[in-house]
Subunit: 208 residues, 2 copies
């Protein structure tokens, strides 16, 4: 029985994600969702009390999907800088492949429409990237005079804009290239060696 | 008479901006706008045929305000890199000072709600920044191996994310600091000299 409730909840979230992704928060109706998810209104209301509640559940599920992928990358034990780069690329790939991720991001940008508090996911990512930046500094891949907290905040903000503008201008067709460009333009500010990515493996400079 | 019509149009746009900024596209009603602007419904409909039409007019007015400020900065004849930095800072300051700018940016992010095509302003800024990047390269302030088109696109995307995340996390209290951080982190990728902004005035490197 509990398993069945869980399956229904998942079906509702997937149906909702599909509708929200297509028409956005404002134009989505709960009847569209029940139809898409093939569930009754009663089943939907058993799990979610409002459209807002459902939108927040889609955002939470999206954040969870991306975070789990990030944790898998972190578990591989690569250098921290490489981990950060892979996390961003994987997030970009998930935007292309996973309807729930696309829906969650669309809802995050539209959150002002339902007064949704979307600070949480941003804070999580800034914290994760700050920890990884410090680790990359300890590993000699990032200059010690880079402020890890400021850089992490910048990275998350920049990534947010890069994928958003890619969506507006090319419907994400160029999102992976633009994420790679972002990292290319970021490398020289991080690199302990003066000339950027090609000398990343060189000895860290101790000047300054 | 024409002047009066123009004054009414301006009042409607200002009233609409104030309402859109407060409650967003989805929750705004045209009666709120007429009340805020102290105009009749007839006067509003004389100028705008729908809420969507009005939202697009606010976005156009916002883009115009920021563009005019940008043109004034460009007219000062400063080095192109300095011009780019000042344009970004001024845009940030306008987000703090000008309700129409805040409303236009909120509507740009919510544009999916009314199928608004907001590519235009992004394209304009990317083009402006690309021209300035090439000029900065000619002036010796930006490395010649930086792809001007890719960098301009990155700069506009990054700026978009920086001001957006500042709004989500701090209601823009830190937007000017975050824009300065952005430029600080961008400098080393641009600078012809190896060690960042402090050596910007040094001779351009011709290696590579």
């Amino acid at each position: 029985m509990q398993q069945r409730a869980k399956a229904t909840r998942t079906a509702v979230i997937e149906g909702a994600a599909s509708i929200f992704e297509e028409v956005g928060y404002g134009n989505a109706s709960l009847s569209d969702v029940t139809e898409r998810a093939s569930v009754t209104k009663g089943a939907l209301y058993f799990h979610f009390k409002s459209k807002e509640d459902l939108a927040l559940a889609v955002i939470a599920e999206q954040h969870n999907i991306v975070r789990v992928a990030g944790e898998q990358i972190a578990a591989a034990g690569l250098p921290a800088l490489e981990t950060m780069i892979r996390m961003c690329r994987t997030f970009g790939q998930q935007l292309l492949d996973e309807p729930i991720v696309r829906a969650g991001i669309r809802l995050t940008f539209e959150a002002s429409a339902f007064n949704g508090d979307v600070k949480g996911p941003y804070h999580d990512w800034v914290t994760t990237m700050e920890v990884l930046t410090r680790q990359a500094q300890a590993e000699g891949d990032v200059r010690h005079d880079v402020d890890a907290a400021d850089f992490a905040r910048y990275l998350v903000a920049s990534f947010t804009g890069v994928q958003m503008v890619s969506n507006v201008l090319t419907e994400r067709r160029d999102v992976l290239k633009r994420i790679d460009d972002m990292w290319r333009f970021m490398m020289p500010t991080l690199s302990p060696a003066p000339q950027g990515p090609e000398s990343l493996s060189g000895a860290p400079e101790e000047t300054q």
